[in-house]
């Protein structure tokens, strides 16, 4: 950790061709310029991806600080650091932040950054939509957090059960912020997911057929399809909630024949698939990155890809396991209980595939590797506690205790935070061109791992000892004191680990060793470009012949077979353009002109932000104004451009 090092970790040239004459042309076509306007107008998936990751991390810190404040309050019985209302807002905002503003967006960030690089394309299918999904996410996050600073944050938990969230029991604006905020955020998720789906179908390098997709792509595509199918449920529920609160409807209000349980059904029909959407891409990150550090391909590519999809499919049929104690007849519940047990099988496939990869590989003891190994263990702990709650009879005791809190943190942090941090260590050289420090990294892992288990392992015991969740304090004499103190200490230790990680990031970005194109000697296409990659990703679009284009020479089972081509291929340089392929077998079938930088997405987000503020404050004039503005942006967005040609000659670089 001394002076700025200059030696590259990987001194080689990028494996992809980047002929200077082509590169200059593409740079001119794709470059977005500098300055404030360019910053707001960017449609580069890499810039957007990084912004997603950074923003999500800021929310992680905010949610984390909220958690730490709660942990001070809970460290001893009958503490009075917080009053009950403050505590309610804290745990609600903590849950909402972590689930909605951190866990999915951070993965969207990774996928946004990595997908076109992994798939051998120059951008996502809809770059402007991509920018829109980021700006909407940011705007919805600000919208939700605005309430915090006026002291009226959501205060009915992250799933805001009715009737507690209806007007008579929650008269303030707290739950309006929640309902409108989630609808708003849902727009971001929906456009983002649609973009991933179309990108997968059309924006791949020639030859990148379905059986060659990296597992991250499988994870994100599964999550995106699930989002498209699940998000409308919660948006609808939130719309109904808002109508019940402001327009006197009776969807949930029993006074007029409404049903409190309708909320729970709609919420969990969304909620359960969603929790898998929060982890499948993260598991994909591990499935792609762990093998690199084990120096071999992933064991069981096909079963792992299939189990990703299977988890989600079953995941749509288990939502009632969140409602075991609501009085639904046990016979119906038994079905959902059994289905929840079944979901462990695809997870087991993943777990054993990772272990096998480690066992049969040659492990390099790097920081990402440590995080991934830690992840496997934490996933299993979180998974088996999920299996315990899947039991109908047992859950009649476990539900709404700290056992559930333990479960959800083991799965959420274990399968989301740990892989994400490991993945940042792994892809940081690609993002920035520099390495993060390994020694600090190992310490960071140690502190985080110990802190995490210290914080959340005792929660299982607390749950089994009968501590209910969402209590702002607990009485003496129930035996919860000592364990809660340990939990609080662990939480702060974990936070220290997070702080070390942040230091590592800053240090790496400023003074880390120069990485070179492929410092880990990894097999996939993103490592064939420079670090960081040029704005157009690939000067020459690659031609893919296997799952591991950069390892082919060394591990190919079929030496006679075709080889991927990285230095010859399509050289689309007649404008800002890239290639579209057929959905299944990835044959080139269209040249796509890509839109340049534009302020439209940012403007649309501002208009929608104003619209939602108008709805929140019942300012009709603002709604009208914002609606008009949004419509104007949309008209500009979709307005037909004078088409030049409908065919173009193909240009090839050889």
């Amino acid at each position: 950790m001394s002076a700025v090092p200059v030696t590259a970790v990987d001194p080689r040239e990028p494996a992809s061709a980047s002929p200077p004459e082509l590169a200059t042309r593409l740079e001119a076509l794709w470059g977005e310029g500098e300055g404030l306007r360019a910053w707001f107008a960017t449609v580069d998936h890499k810039a957007i991806g990084l912004r997603y990751i950074v923003t999500a991390f800021v929310f992680l810190l905010l949610g984390g600080v909220e958690a730490l404040v709660m942990r001070i309050q809970l460290a001893s019985p009958e503490a009075r650091v917080l009053n009950p209302e403050q505590y309610s807002q804290l745990f609600s905002m903590h849950g909402v932040t972590m689930i909605f503003l951190y866990a999915l967006p951070v993965l969207s960030g990774f996928s946004n950054y990595l997908w076109p690089l992994l798939l051998g394309s120059r951008d996502m299918a809809f770059p402007r939509l991509n920018a829109l999904s980021y700006w909407l996410f940011l705007a919805a996050g600000l919208f939700l957090y605005m309430s915090f600073f006026i002291g009226a944050a959501p205060n009915d938990g992250w799933f805001s059960y009715v009737p507690q969230s209806l007007k008579p029991y929650s008269p303030g604006p707290n739950l309006d912020v929640y309902a409108l905020g989630l609808i708003f955020l849902g727009l971001s998720t929906t456009v983002g997911s649609a973009n991933f789906v179309v990108t997968l179908l059309r924006m791949r390098a020639p030859g990148m057929s379905v059986n060659r997709l990296p597992i991250l792509v499988w994870g994100t595509i599964t999550a995106s399809v699930a989002n498209l199918l699940a998000v409308p449920a919660v948006s609808l529920a939130c719309l109904m909630l808002w109508l019940d609160r402001h327009h006197g409807t009776h969807f949930f209000d029993i006074g007029g024949g409404g049903q409190p349980l309708l909320w729970q059904h709609l919420f969990w029909m969304f909620g359960h698939p969603w929790v898998y959407a929060l982890v499948l891409p993260a598991m994909g990150l591990v499935s792609d990155a762990l093998p690199v550090h084990c120096r071999r391909p992933l064991v069981g590519y096909t079963p792992v890809a299939m189990s990703t999809v299977a988890t989600m499919v079953i995941g749509f049929g288990v939502w009632l396991h969140h409602m075991f104690a609501t009085g639904v007849p046990p016979l119906a519940l038994s079905f959902f209980s059994a289905a929840s047990f079944v979901i462990a099988i695809p997870s087991a496939i993943g777990v054993f595939a990772w272990i096998a990869t480690i066992y049969t590989g040659r492990a390099r003891l790097t920081t990402p590797f440590l995080f991934f190994v830690g992840f496997v263990l934490l996933f299993v702990i979180g998974g088996v506690s999920g299996v315990m709650t899947a039991s109908l009879a047992l859950d009649w005791q476990l539900t709404d205790t700290y056992f559930i809190v333990a479960h959800l943190h083991y799965v959420l942090l274990g399968i989301n935070v740990f892989p994400v941090i490991g993945a940042i260590y792994h892809w940081f050289p690609k993002f920035t061109g520099r390495m993060m420090d390994e020694r600090l990294g190992r310490w960071t892992f140690g502190v985080m791992f110990i802190g995490f288990n210290l914080a959340f392992l005792p929660m299982h015991w607390l749950g089994l000892a009968g501590m209910p969740r969402r209590v702002w304090t607990y009485s003496h004499g129930l035996g919860f004191g000592a364990a809660n103190l340990v939990v609080s200490i662990g939480a702060f230790l974990f936070a220290a680990g997070v702080l070390m990680f942040l230091i590592g990031v800053v240090h790496g970005a400023l003074r880390g060793r120069i990485a070179g194109p492929n410092p880990w000697d990894a097999p996939t296409l993103e490592w064939s470009t420079a670090s960081p990659p040029p704005v157009y990703n690939f000067a020459v679009l690659p031609l893919v012949a296997s799952r591991h284009p950069l390892w082919e020479a060394r591990i190919d089972e079929d030496p006679e077979g075709d080889r991927s081509l990285l230095t010859t291929g399509f050289a689309l340089d007649d404008g800002k353009e890239t290639l579209g392929v057929t959905p299944l077998d990835a044959q080139p079938d269209v040249i796509l002109k890509m839109p340049g930088p534009t302020l439209l997405p940012a403007l649309l987000s501002v208009a929608l932000f104003a619209l939602f503020v108008g709805l929140l404050c019942s300012w009709r004039w603002l709604d009208a104004l914002a609606g008009l503005a949004a419509a104007a942006v949309l008209v500009a967005w979709f307005s037909p451009h004078a088409t030049v040609r409908d065919e173009e000659r193909v240009r090839i670089y050889e």
Binding site: V299, F352, Y359, L394, D400, L464, G466, Y474, R554
Partner: protein, 333 residues
């Protein structure tokens, strides 16, 4: 991978600490009746299985990591196709499936065992949730036999008790861990549940569904009495309060009667708990205070400190009046 002596030691310390404190709400031990017995067995069994699964996976991970590192040290870290790892998946899944199947069957059997009471319930109680206390109604043979009380469910030992539950406001959840499953109290809907206390004693419970700011202080007590004592208790509860004309009763009539009922007097409010025999209960304010004269004073004088946000205001009273009304409460046995 390094092991972690630090947290293990600390954990053991913590658990040792916890073990010394008693945990009246834990459901891993001391099941007190047939609605909980099978669940307790399930809880212990599943915990054992799952701990074993975690231990096995941890061992496999350690072995794999050590072996992986050894390979790398010995053979360098050039990329290889690697040995066939598929048997891991076959064996892993092949062994997990029967275990999961067995767990599913066990769980379903336990569900069946606790879903319905073994005998026709002897006592039938309506439980109505309020923010943040419990209204309890015992029905007798005649309509006038109805007994309304709060926060302390008194039951006979060794007999199944049926609970019919709903809520007056938001969703609550009735939970007394040592006696049996949780059940939500959902407004607009009657949910049934049952339990049976096989040992006399006091069981601690708590509302388990978030129901607003004081959700954490919505405790419940179940007091199981031998049948004869239970009958005496019920007969006593059926009696109205003795009429009284002292200062305390007057103050109560002015300051408290709008919210509280004391049967046999003019006080007929229904916002708060029925106080006809409040002094006979073990605790006050849904389990938050012991029911002693001092605590009654604390409650009336500092309601919002004991239970911030509670639906009972700190009624402004002159000190003498407050003392009088607290004395009066003490006479309501």
């Amino acid at each position: 991978m390094r092991r972690r002596p630090g947290p293990v030691a600390l954990l053991m310390l913590a658990c040792a600490g916890c073990a010394r404190e008693s945990t009246p709400m834990d459901y891993m031990h001391g099941a007190a009746g047939p609605a909980q017995m099978p669940i307790q067995a399930l809880a212990q069994g599943f915990t054992a299985i799952c701990t074993a699964v975690v231990a096995i996976i941890a061992v496999l991970l350690i072995v794999s990591v050590r072996r992986g590192i050894r390979e790398q040290r010995n053979d360098g870290d050039a990329v290889t196709p690697g040995r066939n790892g598929m048997p891991w998946i076959y064996w892993g899944v092949g062994l997990s499936v029967p275990v999961l199947l067995a767990m599913t069957v066990w769980s379903l059997l336990a569900t069946r065992a606790v879903a319905t009471p073994p005998a026709a319930p002897a006592v039938d109680v309506e439980v109505i949730g309020h923010q943040w206390w419990w209204e309890l109604r015992y029905h007798g043979d005649r309509a006038s036999d109805i007994v309304t009380t709060a926060n302390e469910l008194v039951v006979p030992v060794g007999q199944p008790v049926r609970l019919r539950m709903t809520s007056a406001d938001v969703i609550h959840d009735f939970w007394v861990p040592k006696l049996g499953p949780k059940m939500d109290l959902v407004p607009g809907q009657w949910n049934n549940s049952w339990f049976q206390a096989d040992r006399a004693g006091v069981y601690v419970g708590q509302c388990a569904e978030y129901c607003g700011v004081e959700h954490g202080k919505m405790g419940i007590r179940v007091r199981a009495l031998p049948k004869a004592q239970f009958d005496t208790w019920l007969a006593l509860e059926r009696q109205p309060a003795l009429p009284s004309i002292n200062r305390g009763a007057q103050v109560f009539g002015q300051a408290c009667a709008a919210c509280h009922t004391v049967r046999g007097t003019g006080a007929g409010g229904i916002v708060g708990p029925d106080l006809t025999h409040v002094a006979g209960r073990l605790t006050l304010a849904a389990g938050m205070l012991p029911n002693t004269p001092t605590a009654r004073m604390t409650w009336v004088a500092h309601t919002q400190q004991v239970k911030p946000g509670a639906q009972m205001p700190e009624v402004p009273l002159a000190d003498v009046d407050r003392a009088a009304v607290v004395d009066y409460l003490g006479t309501l046995r």
